[in-house]
Amino acid sequence: MTTAKMPLGKGLNAGLRAAMEADEKVLIMGEDVGQLGGVFRITDGLQKDFGESRVIDAPLSENGILGTAIGMTFRGYRPVLEIQFDGFVYPAYDQIVSQVARFHFRSKGTVKMPIVIRIPFGGGIGAVEHHSESPEAQFALTAGLKVVTCSNANDAYWMIQQAIASDDPVVFMEPKRRYWDQGEVDLLSDPFPLHASRVVRDGSDATLIAYGPMVKTCLESADAAAEEGINLEVIDLRTLSPLDLDPVFESVRKTGHAIVIHEAAQTLGLGAEISARITEKCFYNLEAPVIRVTGYDLPYPPSRIEEEFLPGLDRILDAVDRSLAF
């Protein structure tokens, strides 16, 4: 077994490199992805090694990045697009929702859209406005898009390669505040499937369901709860569209308590859909209503108070207490 310790962002960088080495049709395009290596350095060194024709510094035009990438797929390319920040994806929303998501369907399968749209998302880094959004539900609810997110360096390395290998368009949400978190990457092992959720901590008293940046927060919450003798199971969803909730149902049937955690606002967030499905599949096993711990239904607040807005350890443990006391 060959493993390497690296931060999550470096896992993405290594995964991108591996994908580009494996398939010469893989291109990277985005703002400042070339010489600079991206504002988060996720594409660091790739233009130097693969050239300007495969790592393309785009004009400052997100709609243009998506629109031209579509044309490139007609030539057999597999563009991997970097949207610099979550809040800047909206100019490209039309091309993503009305074009990328529909070509395969409109053409009855004649046209494939193997495009990966990388979006650093979520808050917690003290950023200015439009740099801390969580728009994943807006893509997950769009028929024709697949949406995934990673929570650790190993998944970052493998999932980005799997997303690039997918013949379907994949919105790849990157937990930007975890870019610097170190983890072990297994460079040789068979990867876990892209569209599969995973239990990342076994427990018996209640189930925490999270993805992306909140997985670490949930694991920390579970550690804290363990000190009080409460044994929490934590599930990393990994795939947001399609959802893979069988591990969730299995867990909830065991614990009877489900808490869904995400940074995105509560109303019509992923938590609403997950809660509905748990109710459909685990109705008689539930000992309390499914509880959601999420961002509030506000535009993202000024960063000085973002820790109050974001789900944290205290709010998660409070929800656990409420569920267990129900």
């Binding site: 243009g64 629109g67 044309g71 490139m72 100019p91 399968g109």
Partner: protein, 380 residues
């Protein structure tokens, strides 16, 4: 206006002063142009005439099919035949065209069975043909979106080293179709910018038919559309969009320039939408008949007929063509009704290449529900 205004400012009227390339007058007279010439002989002009004539018949038949309730909607292209056939016949097999939803004549040039164009409008299809087979993308309904796809395709041609070899079999280019209304869209202006920045082998072919549904071109722009290319760093040419020879000559030159690796061109084909925006539209609410009458005198087909008649084309040619058009009409009427009905159950399989458990579950539930109705006997 202050004295500091730049003196390069040309015109503040979309119909304003911008040179117009014309090679065949509305009266059917060939005229010379300093830069552009139609290179073909009279036989090739007869072929263009055939295309123009058949394109109008497609439009006529589709319109009738809509009035008979066989299709729900049609986007007529009458008046724009020269722009579409002239440009469409300037393409090579290896070129690629990205159309709007009105490029029925270009589809004809690309070998798409015109009956397949009806599927979208009959509500049985969202596409209808294989883009790769014809070098002709699916109709695009979101205004201007396809210009970026065209630009990306052109960037792909450059990456594939398919330009600039002086090889007519290998070098390729792209043509993006759009209208005057689309020039107000961000996508179109972004496409201009990207094409210029990447020196992409793409020709932007704007059919300025004077209207975006009801809004005249002066609601989209202050200056001539062709003038806009200069601001992006490439050349804009205005051509008489009702002159098939000029449209062919200018598009041929622009496509060759693109294939040679010399970057994009904007062509503004100055034309007129003789009919409604779609069959749901009522143009009498926003334009007067005198304007329409003026444009009737510039008909793109009539002028070619006049020219060919003066050149001694036998009546038999026109009669044969009329018979061919009749056959095409029959084909369209029959093929329209024969277009297969869509099956909702099948659609679950075409959302993704690799389907999802969620879709499989919903498909199974839909089929079970549908079957249960059939078992019970659905109400009449």
């Amino acid at each position: 206006m202050t004295a500091s205004m730049p003196d390069t400012y040309v015109a503040d009227d979309p119909a304003g002063d911008f040179p117009l390339v014309q090679l065949l007058t509305p009266e059917g007279q060939r005229v010379n142009h300093a830069e552009f010439a139609y290179e073909g002989d009279d036989d090739s002009i007869r072929e263009l005439y055939r295309d123009l004539f058949l394109m109008r018949r497609i439009d006529f038949e589709a319109h009738a099919l809509q009035r008979h309730g066989e299709i729900g909607l049609w986007a007529p292209a009458q008046g724009q035949e020269a722009a579409q056939i002239g440009s469409g016949r300037a393409l090579r097999p290896q070129d690629f065209a990205f159309p709007t939803y009105r490029e029925h004549g270009v589809a004809l040039c690309r070998g798409v069975d015109p009956a397949l164009l009806l599927g979208l409008f009959r509500g049985v299809e969202l596409g209808g043909w294989d883009p790769a087979e014809h070098g002709f993308a699916l109709y695009s309904i979101v205004i201007g979106a396809q210009t970026l796809h065209a630009t990306g395709y052109a960037m792909g041609l450059t990456l594939d080293d398919a330009v600039g070899h002086n090889d007519p079999e290998r070098d390729a280019a792209v043509i993006a179709y759009f209208g005057d209304g689309a020039t107000s869209q961000g996508s179109v202006n972004e496409a201009f910018d990207w094409a210029a920045v990447f020196n992409a082998p793409v020709v932007f072919f704007c059919q300025n038919n004077q209207y975006a549904i009801s809004a005249g071109t002066d609601r989209q722009t202050r200056g001539p559309i062709a003038q806009r290319a200069g601001g992006f760093g490439f050349r804009g040419i205005r051509v008489d969009g009702n002159d098939v020879l000029a449209c062919h000559a200018v598009t041929t030159a622009a496509m060759q320039k693109a294939r040679d690796g010399e970057g994009p061109t904007l062509i503004e084909a100055y034309t007129y939408r003789m009919g409604a925006h779609t069959t749901s539209d009522d143009p009498t609410r926003y334009r007067d008949s005198a304007e329409v009458e003026t444009w009737k005198l510039k008909d793109p087909i009539e002028r070619v007929k006049r020219y060919l008649q003066v050149q001694g084309t036998p009546q038999e040619f026109f009669d044969t063509l009329e018979a061919e058009a009749e056959e095409l009409g029959k084909h369209l009427r029959a093929a329209c009704k024969a277009l297969p009905e869509p099956d909702l159950a099948a659609l679950f399989d075409s959302v993704f290449v690799d389907g999802t458990p969620e879709l499989a579950e919903q498909k199974a539930a839909y089929i079970a529900f549908r079957d249960s109705l059939e078992t019970e006997g659905s109400p009449a």
